[in-house]
Symmetry: C2
Subunit: 455 residues, 2 copies
């Protein structure tokens, strides 16, 4: 097992980089076998893992009392037999997914005997910084190894005992298959995050999974590419021709089903033509679920014009949960039962609002017309651009990726939910018979043929 | 035409971001037409462009005298009728390339009526910082518009007059097709680079094309993704079973054909078994071309043991161009007729040297054995990993991409020579009939079907 207690991090990261060469050289079957053995060892040591988790929970209970960790962190820390079974199944599933390495996306003969291929390949060394949830460790470790990457895993100290036993199971699998132990590295100290952020040349990708503050801190303090998102500011736009009942159902699901999720909506945009019919209905449904609406003036007046309950709100005379929006509401991720509502006069205004204020995560339109959706899809530059669907579907499991390491709001690849395919890059393979560039230069230069090769 | 003289850059970049929505909404044919008209207007104004270029050359001649610009910058500034013809042809060719937008790389029915597609899409706003060569402007502008992206182009002041006329031609095409003028923006002031580096949220990608210093400065001072490479440190490895004549020919081409290119080799690694036979031959060929060899001790002794010329070098008693390597030679991009040479005892040692000291650009192996190449390909994590071929083939035109905006040594996409395909990202399209996540949660949760859809 890799311990960082005595050795400086530089040596560990250098060894991890070397280990990435060994991992990249494995066959798909070898990578699959390691994952299967990981599942096997976790399954065999369930009692030990649960007992370590009990220990963590006892310490966490004290941290909860003193306010050092939140209730939701405390809840997410807990493992039981069922949850562990799901973890083992999850790891096994990663071994059954299609291999992401070695796929050819371009094959071209540049000239006689000079063949070019673009082939997917592991990225190298991936560092993942996460909090609380111990199930993240086997999930990320299995995705990383399956895609031929080394994973440096920095967990939260509140999960230390649980993570240590889980990590031992993963190391048993590596050892049994003769892989370098530094193929997976577990770190515990907060200070070690600094060393990772500075390790360009050794670490190829950083995935922070945690608070918006953590993600922003990582983005601001490293030259290494960062995968993930600081904010999930998603919008639902109800076009003039929308099916009103569907649009109500979608708004409720996208806001209420799990308000803390990054793919929950924070903004509801409604076309002015349909606002009079739609807003009172959706307001009623959302108020019933305890959602506070921060409405722009036009939306406010429409909702307020309906017969309401006798209790007065702070601003509305009829609805305690109806307030007037402030400008910062359009750029705030509430992560709570709060929704900003705005009336727009055209789809262009909706698109402009989303592209200016959104976070390029996931946005959805409700419309009956395919051409309207196509225009929305082309113009909105977010990782997910949906049609008549709740934004909450933005998730690696729901997309059928088996699992995800995170959701990327980057404009560049990988984008959206990132599973195995997002954990590989590509290399160009060029094979010749002594071809030199000199022959293709100057007078009487040989011409390239650029014939595509059938795969 | 967009002028930045009076308006602050923020407003221009905001307008450029808006223009990117308009560009993303164009059909492939519309994007093609704009490019064709760009070629037309450049062709029509050849005389004017040449006269502006003459003006720039006169000013540059003075800068050359005072040492403010280098000879190579001066040479690259010059346009003539033939060069302009090539530029026009290059732009026309971009309009004939396959469309990079709208390609579907994943199509899956998640459940009845709930369909997921991954579709290539424009990135948004791309800023390109370049020096001297005015032909870069129409090349990058045409690649950007063809891929649906806005380009912010910051040229060198030495090319100001030429760029201004070329840019007017591009703007004529935009205007004729009714596109926002901010679809292409030309900047001239050095200070404006600062504003671009700080414009995250408005600029999606920065491509610095210039000195290593410029690239590193950009990488160190922005949160925006940077495409390109600060260094091109390429290696050629001669395995024990290599065809010696082929390996000599490849080393000469890769070093001598254009030593200042990023894809020229800086390091020659030779297996010890073949070193005695290969090194004297390659040294002779390289000395004949004026290449200085910085050899490690084993390589030095082998070359020195051959009969040589009577003139003494500084270290070698026989060859003036033979010197002993220093440790910094393994990490220096000479960009000149200098080559570091090292004897290794195994392919593993060669791979380790390349992964530790190289710049992940392009590396090549000379070997007779396909399995040896496969091992090299898997283990070396560079954008190009070649077999029996000169590294100098790493180039968008040679790959058949039509043109390139640069060569990326990033580990993440896009990697290697970047043409149209590298200038798009993807979005997830999810279309349903009012599907909500709630139905797939809790007890009696609906199960996903995840059926792949035939394209």
């Amino acid at each position: 097992m890799t311990s960082t207690a005595e050795s400086p991090l530089f040596e560990i990261l250098t060894a991890a980089k070397r280990a990435s060469t060994a991992l990249a050289s494995l066959s798909p079957a070898q990578r699959q076998e390691v994952i299967e053995r990981m599942a096997f060892f976790i399954d065999r040591r369930v009692d030990e893992i649960l007992s370590a988790n009990k220990h963590d929970m006892q310490r966490a209970a004290k941290l909860l009392e003193t306010g050092e960790i939140s209730r939701s962190m405390y809840d997410r820390l807990k493992l039981d037999e069922n949850k562990l079974k799901t973890i083992v199944e999850g790891v096994r599933q990663v071994s059954t997914l299609p291999d992401p390495v070695g796929a050819i996306s371009l094959a071209r003969e540049l000239d006689d005997g000079l063949k070019l291929y673009r082939v997917t390949s592991p990225i190298g060394v991936i560092a993942v910084i996460f909090e609380s949830r111990p199930d993240v460790l086997p999930q990320i470790a299995s995705l990383a190894i399956r895609s031929g990457n080394v994973a440096i895993l920095k967990g939260g100290k509140e999960a230390r005992f649980t993570l240590t036993v889980l990590f031992e199971c993963l190391q048993q699998a590596l050892g049994e298959k003769g892989l370098p132990s530094q193929s997976l590295v577990l770190l515990h100290k907060r200070e070690e995050i600094e060393s990772i952020l500075k390790a360009d040349g050794l670490v190829d990708l950083i995935i922070p999974r945690g608070s918006n503050q953590l993600v922003r801190y990582v983005q601001d303090n490293t030259r290494i590419p960062v995968l993930g998102h600081a904010e999930g500011l998603c919008a639902l736009y109800v076009h003039e021709d929308a099916d009103i009942d569907m649009a109500v159902k979608l708004a409720v699901d996208a806001k209420v089903q799990y308000p803390a999720a990054c793919n929950a909506i924070e903004t509801l945009l409604v076309h002015s033509t349909i606002a009079g019919a739609y807003l009172p209905k959706v307001a009623q449904a959302l108020f019933a679920k305890g959602v506070e609406l921060r409405a722009d003036n036009r939306a406010f007046e429409i909702i307020e014009s309906e017969p309401g309950a006798p209790e007065a709100g702070s601003e509305s005379k009829k609805f305690p949960l109806l307030v007037r929006s402030k400008s910062e509401d359009w750029t705030t991720e509430f992560s709570d039962l709060i929704l900003a509502v705005k009336v727009v006069d055209s789809i262009e205004e909706a698109i402009d609002h989303i592209n200016q204020h959104g976070s390029n995560h996931t946005d959805t339109i409700v419309t009956a017309e395919p051409a309207t959706y196509e225009a929305f899809f082309k113009a909105v530059n977010s990782a997910g651009v949906y049609w008549n669907v709740s934004t909450r579907f933005a998730d690696g499991f729901r997309y059928g990726f088996g699992a995800e390491v995170g959701i990327s709001t980057n404009k560049m690849h990988p984008r959206g939910p990132v599973g195995l395919e997002g954990l590989v890059t590509y290399k160009y393979k060029l094979a010749g018979k002594g071809h030199v560039v000199e022959d293709y230069s100057g007078e009487n230069a040989r011409q390239f043929k650029h014939r595509d090769i059938d795969l």
